[in-house]
Amino acid sequence: MKILVAVKRAIDYNVKARPKADGSGVDLANVKMSMNPFDEIAVEEAIRLQEAGKAEETVAVSIGPKQCQETLRTAMAMGVDRGILVETNDEMQPLAVAKLLKAVVEREEPGLVLLGKQAIDDDSNQTGQMLAALLGWPQGTFACGLELGDGSAAVRREIDGGIQTVELKLPAVITSDLRLNEPRYVKLPNIMKAKKKPLDTLTTDELDVDVAPRLSLVKVAEPPARKGGIKVPDVETLVDKLRNEAKVI
């Protein structure tokens, strides 16, 4: 089986995003970018499945500007066999990304598609579900465990009250939650090796997909700031404040 894993180039998780002064968007100038952390977990899972002999080939796909090549190289340095960049400088919203991924899936015919459950920039949490819908495939979202069987996959899912286990017919789309695995560190020799792995570039025109955005950004703003609080010297004062000032207990 071939596994396709989708990776997004997003703001580094250690960086705090800020709106531009004019409210027209988020200020990403000179901001460190990395692979979306959830996608890193998806990549790790794909590689582990291959190492366990459950997959013959792993392919990473990214959609966005030229710099996404770096993201794909990271995936290949982790162990993915090759990369596909759908290059575009336009804003790609989740529905457009899902349509592009569907077109890539139709070319590559993987038995499984892995994605992160959400990207830490727009926090949409949509793309995997949308891709599954467009393909008519089942979806295992928020996965914390994945076992491939014969023609089916058992997926443990993080749900609000605990864990749910579902069985999905393959091919299927799986989106990773935090506890699916712990991604490996990339070793230097592997970074060198990754540079030699094949990386194909496609365009949105080639894939013949309508990628027009459906949502327009009216404005962005800082969230309302919390007023600075006070330090209390001891628990007695704290209890007194909570009882008599805040009146919450």
Binding site: Q164, T165, G229
Partner: protein
């Protein structure tokens, strides 16, 4: 112009998050219908019909709706979607799982996790872990929306007299099957609905030490939460997690113990009414959002706090 809210339930009871989603639907200004899909869930339909502002409940019952599998629920929603301009669900793990599938089948965008309604096509939602608040306008004829429950006060659970109409189920797609569920059992209130939450972070140090957090929670009748660091360290299960990728909560009182206050965690709790932080590091970012900060060793301060709460 009517909105459809997808009810969340366990076939016995309506999940209160649905009442927040109803509030968002009402803020759009629509008449509101509710879809209840499940198995043996007539009581849920009745409860939904009594919720403030509900005109009509559509009830679809079939064995393959019992466990709310997205593969089966999405086609049902599509089958009834035609008259509705807005389709909403609470942004719970169920809503987040099903609604994007619905949106894609309708060929429309989803607007995730809204916290405000500007007009019938313009909505407010947090992005970048809540560090940026975006206002977005939809160009689609139908709007598929998930609602962050902390953004809207729930509508009244009773008082309305909506009708209940049974509708036909759509065939089982056979794409997925429910195998089982392990739900965390607890006598404490649920995180999402609790008035008071006591959360522990990496500073708590171990699974055993979480008993301290639990003792304080029980003294206050509070729910227990945790930071991602505490979850990653294996002190508590993942469903305790408060943060960008866990649960977003806004209780009247949030007590953060041994939590440094990573962006990711603040995203999940900074809308709480009153925040208390107990941390030995006085430079910890959590003090930047706390109304009351206590600098000290949690292993000394938490038991002392439990004791102080006993005194009148």
């Amino acid at each position: 112009m009517t909105a459809l809210v997808i009810a969340e339930h366990n076939n016995a009871e309506l999940n209160p998050a649905t009442l927040n989603a109803l509030a968002a639907a009402r803020a759009i200004g629509d008449e509101v219908d509710v879809l209840v899909a499940g198995s043996g869930c007539e009581a849920v339909a009745k409860a939904a019909a009594a919720a403030e502002g509900v005109r009509k409940v559509l009830l679809a019952e079939a064995a393959h709706y019992e466990n709310v599998l997205a593969e089966n629920l999405a086609p049902l929603i599509i089958a009834v979607a035609e008259p509705y301009e807005h389709l909403l669900a609470a942004a719970t793990t169920t809503g987040k799982n099903v609604m994007p599938r619905v949106a894609a089948l309708l060929d429309v965008a989803q607007i995730s996790d809204i916290i405000g309604v500007e007009s019938n096509d313009t909505f407010v939602r947090p992005i970048y872990a809540g560090n940026v608040i975006a206002t977005v306008k939809s160009a689609d004829a139908k709007k598929v929306i998930t609602v962050r429950t902390t953004g809207f006060d729930p509508v009244a659970a009773s008082g309305a007299r909506g009708s209940v109409e049974s509708i036909d189920a759509v065939d089982d797609t056979g794409l997925s099957k429910f195998l089982g569920e392990e739900l965390t059992k607890s006598d404490r209130p649920e995180l999402a609905a609790a008035d008071i939450i006591v959360s522990g972070g990496r500073g708590v140090g171990s699974s055993e030490n979480f008993a301290l957090i639990e003792a304080l929670a029980d003294k206050l009748g509070a729910a227990v939460g945790a930071s991602r660091a505490a979850v990653d360290a294996g002190y508590v299960p993942n469903d305790y997690q408060v943060g960008q990728t866990g649960k977003v909560v806004a209780p009247a009182l949030y007590i953060a113990v041994g939590i440094s206050g990573a962006i990711q965690h603040l995203a999940g709790m900074k809308d709480s009414k009153v925040i208390v932080a107990i941390n030995k590091d006085e430079e910890a970012p959590i003090f930047g959002v706390a109304d009351y900060g206590l600098v000290g060793d949690l292993f000394k301060e938490v038991p002392a706090l439990v004791e102080a709460l006993d005194k009148k």
